[in-house]
């Protein structure tokens, strides 16, 4: 028997449409309405400014630990923008901009990061999962949702977000493998932000790209400039089209950067250089999109300033509403809710125990 070679795909596409200066590759420019472009701008700006505000509130002790998103707005919004209301979003924990796009309120985000269960606020008309903290674990849920979509004969999609660190988890590989085996309408969006807390992307995997991992599972893989909202949108649109028409799943690696801390409990100066951060600041997704919109005549310095003011007011109003709400602490008895469809006897007993304790405390 001779030793032969089996040919497998050994290339993946990399898509970049807007460069750092906002210059456009017009041949690749996706067809996006002006209205959607302006909406994307609004949410990119809102995502950035809200993130900055949350960080400042956290430093003042007015918000608990959270995971900032700055630098990753284009990845989140370019992908979320292709979703229909009936599609399913399965986030990790660093997708606040995508969640806001889908209708989650800023007020709920503030409540959540202040430890209020009331901050879990899934819009009634959206099938969006709550955030998932155990890294990569949610990928399989998107697989289950996508399988069910196909079973019911719908043309919806399930879109899962996760980070570069998640691609080391078994759940990621199992998820992509299942998606390949069942040819289901799933879109896997990796926010490759270069850092899993202190571990750089190059120590996460020896693979040259993350996108190439799709090849092994027989699904489409593509790498995009994740700081280029047009590129992310184009790749996600293509993936959605493939999924809705029965063409199976896609893995999109969005190359972006975590411009801020992992969470507010982290100090990145311990493990990465200022030079690196400065390099990525030049690639800021918001700046280049604003340059593009300005060149297109949709934005101007004046309009950007107006947009900044609008966003600032929206954020202030949300902070005010949330802080007003938080003048009242949550009712502790609420902890027994949503444990089961029907509260079992031992929990009824424990709830009564806590109620007695609380009323005794009130009496002093």
């Amino acid at each position: 028997m001779p030793r032969t070679r089996i040919v497998i795909p050994d290339e993946i596409d990399h898509i970049s449409i807007l460069d750092e200066e906002g210059n456009l590759d017009s041949g690749l420019e996706p067809d996006i309405s002006d209205e959607t472009l302006l909406r994307l701008h609004h949410f990119m700006l809102l995502g950035r400014r809200f993130d900055e505000r949350l960080l400042s509130l956290q430093r003042q002790g007015r918000v608990g630990t959270f995971a900032p998103i700055s630098g990753q707005e284009a990845t989140q919004l370019g992908a979320a923008a292709i979703l229909r209301p009936s599609d399913w979003l399965v986030p990790a924990f660093r997708e606040t901009a995508a969640e806001l796009w889908r209708g989650r309120s800023m007020e709920s985000v503030i409540l959540y990061f202040n430890g209020y269960a009331e901050g879990v606020d899934i819009p009634e008309d959206r099938n969006d999962f709550p955030i998932s903290v155990p890294v990569g674990s949610q990928i399989l849920h998107a697989v289950g949702v996508a399988w069910s979509i196909r079973y019911r004969g719908k043309d919806d999609v399930a879109l899962a977000f996760f980070g570069d660190g998640a691609t080391s988890q078994g759940d990621f590989h199992e998820g992509l493998n299942f998606a390949g085996v069942y040819e289901i309408p799933a879109i896997f969006v990796c926010q490759n932000n270069q850092w899993a807390i202190s571990v750089p992307r190059k120590h996460q995997t020896r693979s040259e790209t993350l996108a190439q991992k799709a090849i092994a599972y027989g699904i489409k893989g593509v790498q995009v400039d994740g700081n280029d909202v047009l590129a992310v949108y184009a790749a996600a649109s293509e993936a959605a089209q493939r999924a809705r028409s029965g063409g199976g799943a896609t893995f999109i690696e969005c190359v972006t950067y975590r411009m801020s801390v992992h969470t507010t409990a982290d100090d990145p100066r311990r493990y990465r250089s200022d030079e690196e951060v400065e390099l990525w600041q030049k690639r800021d997704p918001l700046n280049r999109f604003q340059k593009y919109l300005t060149a297109k005549g949709l934005m101007s310095d004046e309009k950007i300033e107006m947009a900044e003011n609008t966003v600032k007011e929206e954020i202030q109003a949300a902070v005010d509403r949330a802080e007003e709400r938080m003048k009242t602490p949550g009712d502790p008895l609420y902890m027994f809710e949503h444990a089961y469809a029907q509260m079992p006897p031992h929990l009824i007993e424990q709830r009564e125990y806590l109620a007695r304790e609380l009323s005794e405390q009130k009496k002093g």
Binding site: T65, V133, L347
Partner: protein, 326 residues
């Protein structure tokens, strides 16, 4: 003797064991250059190098699974799972292999590894960062389950865990990491796994606890003394499995009354096992029903409601007084 936080004393244990024994390897997410998210492994990377303080890719199952192989080979891996809430992503490796390899290989291979992981609540953290699930591990034959309650015993238990011939799950109550300092001797000190300690002597009632609940338990014992004139005997279990039942069953034979306190959910928790041991060994000495003060059987609420979930000195005191009144 230098005064240390639990973070520092655990670091001392790791440093000294690594110094003494080149089989001891630390591995996990962010344990190297970053020194661990709580800084327990701080400086080990700089002192011992990347070969002995190993930053891993992000995969809990791989961290534990790889540790099993290293241990079988003859090394002494001390792996860190960043929060106990993420250890379930490695649970199949723990239950199916770490706990069983000695048995499955009829003693040919063993798994002398330690899985260190920050546990329990009280630090206003996000979901999955506040649970106390020691019962999972204590319920798994083949594992040892240890939970220190302060800097000094944390150091002395970690030393024993590293030297233990079997897999040890080492829970570090994160609310105690920097809560207080204790004198910790530079020279070697070890507490044998499977031994509990009387930390306050008394003859009226026995209060049994461990880990993060030792402080509210001792606070309640002081109030009992000052306000009620009651002498409570307080026992720190230190090891959940194998459970040292000699000390607390003897204590209950003396006091006739017992309260067990833990942060873990009440049902099927370590308290249930302690109560069973008392029933088996000290039943005829009991003068009152035994009380359990524990977390409720719900997911630990987000931190706005967490204080109402966590047992505290008041709750312990109320239950103890009922037991004393019975």
């Amino acid at each position: 003797m230098p005064k240390m936080t639990m973070v520092q004393s655990l670091n001392l244990a790791l440093r000294q064991e690594m110094e003494k024994d080149d089989r001891v390897i630390v591995l996990g997410e962010d344990v190297g250059l970053d020194g661990g998210v709580f800084r327990v492994t701080d400086g080990l990377f700089q002192h011992f190098g990347a070969q002995r303080s190993v930053d891993t890719p992000l995969a809990e199952a791989a961290i534990v699974g790889m540790s099993i192989g290293m241990a079988a080979y003859g090394l002494r891996p001390v792996c860190e799972i960043q929060f106990s809430g993420f250890s379930y992503q490695a649970f199949h490796q723990i239950e199916n292999h770490a706990a069983r390899l000695r048995w499955r290989s009829r003693g040919r291979f063993s798994v002398p590894m330690v899985m260190r992981t920050p546990c329990s609540g009280g630090v206003r953290a996000l979901e999955h960062h506040s649970e106390s699930r020691e019962a999972y591990y204590a319920h798994t034959p083949g594992l040892k389950m240890v939970i220190p309650s302060g800097p000094r015993n944390a150091r002395a238990l970690l030393v024993s865990a590293i030297r233990d011939p079997d897999p040890v799950i080492f829970y570090e109550p994160k609310s105690l990491y920097r809560a207080f300092r204790e004198e910790v001797p530079e020279e070697e000190e070890a507490i044998p796994i499977g031994t509990s300690q009387i930390v306050r002597e008394g003859s009226d009632i026995t209060i049994i606890s461990y880990g993060p609940m030792m402080r509210p338990t001792l606070e309640a014992a002081s109030v009992l003394k000052e306000k009620d004139g009651i002498e409570a005997e307080v026992i720190d279990l230190l090891t959940i499995s194998p459970l040292d039942d000699a000390l607390f069953t003897a204590s209950v034979r003396k006091t006739g009354r017992a309260v067990i306190v833990h942060e873990a959910p009440r049902s099927f928790g370590p308290g249930a096992e302690v109560v069973s041991k008392i029933m088996e060994k000290s039943f005829y000495y009991l003068e009152a029903p035994i009380a359990r003060v524990a977390g409720f059987d719900v997911i630990v609420p987000l931190f706005n409601r967490e204080n109402a979930y966590l047992p505290n000195a008041d709750r312990i005191l109320r239950e103890a007084r009922q037991v004393l009144a019975a």
